[in-house]
């Protein structure tokens, strides 16, 4: 197995809200190897994006707070790093692209300007060199007539083009890690596929490790090698992508997979009515002592509601946190 590039250990993030303290990430541990694509999957509000922001050092403090844990890039704990050091890391060693290409670019500056800015900042390039770099990047992400479009403004481009620009910006300094937070959610299906192809292609060329955050199991299937399933700020299941798709253990994972019809192995028979995880992610301020998924879980019993299930390794690289698995193992 390749060398571990980035690892998160026992991370906990809390937010002060009007209704009390919300622990949006609780005891989270994941790791990313060089050249790997790690998928993080879960519904909105489960803490995926917050994990990404924690790695970037962009958790808004206050009201947020890193309550516990360590985040290593190589051997350096980023949580201990100075803000100045973090600025060096961001965009240079770890880059990030976001869900909303429509709004993630500054409307008042040309795209060339925005891409060049990164290069000038981290590599101290001159204005002309930085623009040259921006142009190269635009060509690399497949923007047609890049030499003209480099002077355009975000509102003049389509969503897919903007996301390409975002990717160009993120990769301008050849980072070691790219965090892609729902990069295709806001895009048309055909464009989605193009973006995935582009990301895969770039990864092959540059060796950048990718953390792919999504709620879409389909995207995971296409992109990731390993998958982390999150619910209410916790990792509920972690495994290789094949294992997850073929043998999901946690009821939540199973629910997520069922939501995507073509992923279920026997589409005609087992498929329950579409989109079936009843209820919503509960407010994080109101988590009790039990499994946070219990209120929505069809298998939940008294123990589930009372006690938090431990994380259990059931296979090589496959862990799951569920009393059901616990009981099966015990049985």
């Amino acid at each position: 197995m390749a060398k571990t590039l980035l690892s998160v250990e026992g991370l906990a993030v809390e937010f002060d809200t009007r209704d009390g303290v919300a622990r949006v990430i609780d005891d989270l541990s994941i790791s990313l190897a060089e050249g790997e694509t790690l998928g993080i999957v879960g519904e909105s509000g489960c803490g995926k994006s917050m994990t990404a922001l924690s790695i970037m050092g962009l958790v808004p403090i206050p009201p947020g707070r890193i309550a516990a844990g360590r985040i290593f890039l190589d051997d350096e704990d980023l949580l201990q790093a100075s803000e100045a050091r973090m600025r060096e890391v961001r965009g240079n060693e770890i880059s990030m692209i976001f869900q909303e290409p429509m709004t993630s670019l500054n409307p008042v500056y040309s795209i060339g300007n925005q891409i060049a800015e990164t290069a000038r900042l981290h590599e101290g390039l001159s204005r002309a060199d930085a623009f040259q770099r921006a142009l190269e990047m635009l060509v690399a992400v497949g923007i047609p007539a890049a030499d003209k479009r480099i002077h355009e403004f975000p509102h003049q481009m389509s969503g897919g083009m903007r996301q390409r620009v975002m990717i160009a910006m993120a990769l301008a300094c050849q980072p070691r890690v790219l965090i892609a937070d729902e990069p295709t959610t806001a895009l048309d299906v055909t464009v989605q596929a193009q973006i995935f192809d582009l990301l895969n292609d770039l990864k092959d060329r540059t060796g950048t490790a990718i953390i792919m955050i999504t709620h879409d199991m389909g995207a995971i299937a296409e992109m990731a090698q390993r998958v982390v399933v999150m619910y209410a700020g916790r990792v509920v299941e972690q495994a290789d992508v094949d294992q997850i798709l073929t043998d999901p253990r946690h009821p939540y994972t199973q629910g997520l997979i069922r939501c995507v019809p073509h992923l279920t192995q026997n589409p005609t028979k087992e498929r329950p009515p579409l989109l079936e995880i009843p209820g919503v992610v509960p407010p994080l301020t109101q988590l009790g002592s039990g499994c946070p998924f219990a209120p929505r879980c069809q298998y939940a019993d008294a123990q589930c509601r009372a006690e938090m299930p431990p994380t259990k390794a059931i296979d090589d690289g496959h862990t799951v946190a569920c009393w059901l698995t616990e009981r099966e193992a015990a049985a």
């Binding site: 009007r18 209704d19 509960p282 407010p283 109101q286 209120p295 929505r296």
Partner: protein, 301 residues
């Protein structure tokens, strides 16, 4: 309306009252409003002033123009809570009675403002095309004329009475409302529920007033609260310049009447000013509270 329990759906039991309110727009609205303490204070001030305006004349039965004592007594002197003005009239009584006129003019002017603004804005936003074009040109016409200047000319033209003052203020200040209403209508007319209403053959008038208007109301109601405040300030400015009805007591008139005594009897100018200030402040606090109440999410930021 059914009680709160019956409407909670299956799923996790509500953890606190907020959960219930999610299901009840009006109660949620009230609850959100009352979470904003400043807005509650504003409401209290407003209720007090309206109460004074409505009931004080019944209880006190005094003539605010009556010269009751020596002129320019200090607050507290001769048993006059806020002192007397330059004609020996009790400043407190004058302010209490002034509330009536100020609120009446402010309210009427705001009403006229909203009426003109809503009608023009709704028509322009709903019909678009040449109607919009024409109405927006009219709006721009009124926007390029400085409102106070135009109001002064109008009041001067039709002689200063309560009615002319209220109408003049209304005539010069509706453009903002019109633009807001137009924007709302332009946005809402494309929404599904409007298309639905149209598809079942509803008439334009019905769509404008019963389908779109209720949805356009939240920002307009907030705007209405502010409009009342602005109208009060307007009236004060006109009165201050001497363009007001001399037969009725208003706060702006008190300031205008006593401005020459600014240096020797600052209280004669200060107290009516405080009254105006508090009222307008109350209106803007209420406006803020309404904004919160209409958009609970905005508040969380």
């Amino acid at each position: 309306m059914s009680d709160s329990e019956s409407t909670t759906q299956a799923g996790p039991p509500p953890a606190d009252m907020d959960e219930i309110f999610v299901e009840h727009p009006f109660r949620q609205f009230v609850a959100m409003y009352f979470r904003n303490y400043a807005a509650v204070a504003g409401l209290l001030v407003f209720v007090t002033i309206v109460g004074a305006a409505l009931f004080a004349p019944m209880i006190l039965d005094l003539d605010p123009f009556e010269m009751v004592d020596e002129p320019l007594l200090r607050p507290g002197e001769g048993g006059h809570l806020l002192g007397t003005d330059n004609l020996g009239r009790d400043l407190f009584i004058a302010i209490v009675y002034g509330a009536r006129v100020t609120m009446a003019v402010g309210g009427a002017a705001a009403g006229i403002t909203l009426f003109i603004g809503l009608t023009i804005g709704a028509m322009a936003g709903f019909y678009r095309g040449w109607v919009d074009e024409v109405l927006m040109r009219v709006t721009e016409f009124f926007q390029v004329l400085p409102p106070l200047l135009l109001a002064m000319v109008l009041v001067a033209l039709f002689s200063p009475t309560l009615e002319t003052v209220a109408i003049s203020i209304g005539v010069v200040s509706w453009t903002g409302v019109a633009r807001l209403a137009r924007a709302e209508f332009l946005r809402l007319r494309e929404q599904e529920f409007v298309k639905a209403a149209r598809s079942i053959g509803a008439r334009d008038r019905r769509i404008i007033w019963l389908v779109i208007m209720p949805n356009a109301l939240p920002p307009l109601i907030v705007n209405a609260a502010l409009t009342v405040g602005i109208a009060i300030l307007f009236e004060a400015a006109l009165s201050f310049l001497g363009l007001s009805d001399p037969n009725v007591m208003s706060w702006g008139k008190l300031i205008g009447d006593n401005r020459d005594y600014l240096l020797d009897a600052p209280w004669t100018v200060t107290f009516p000013g405080v009254a105006i200030f508090l009222t307008v402040l109350a209106m803007s606090l209420i406006g803020d509270g309404l904004t919160d109440a209409f958009n609970p999410k905005l508040r969380e930021r």
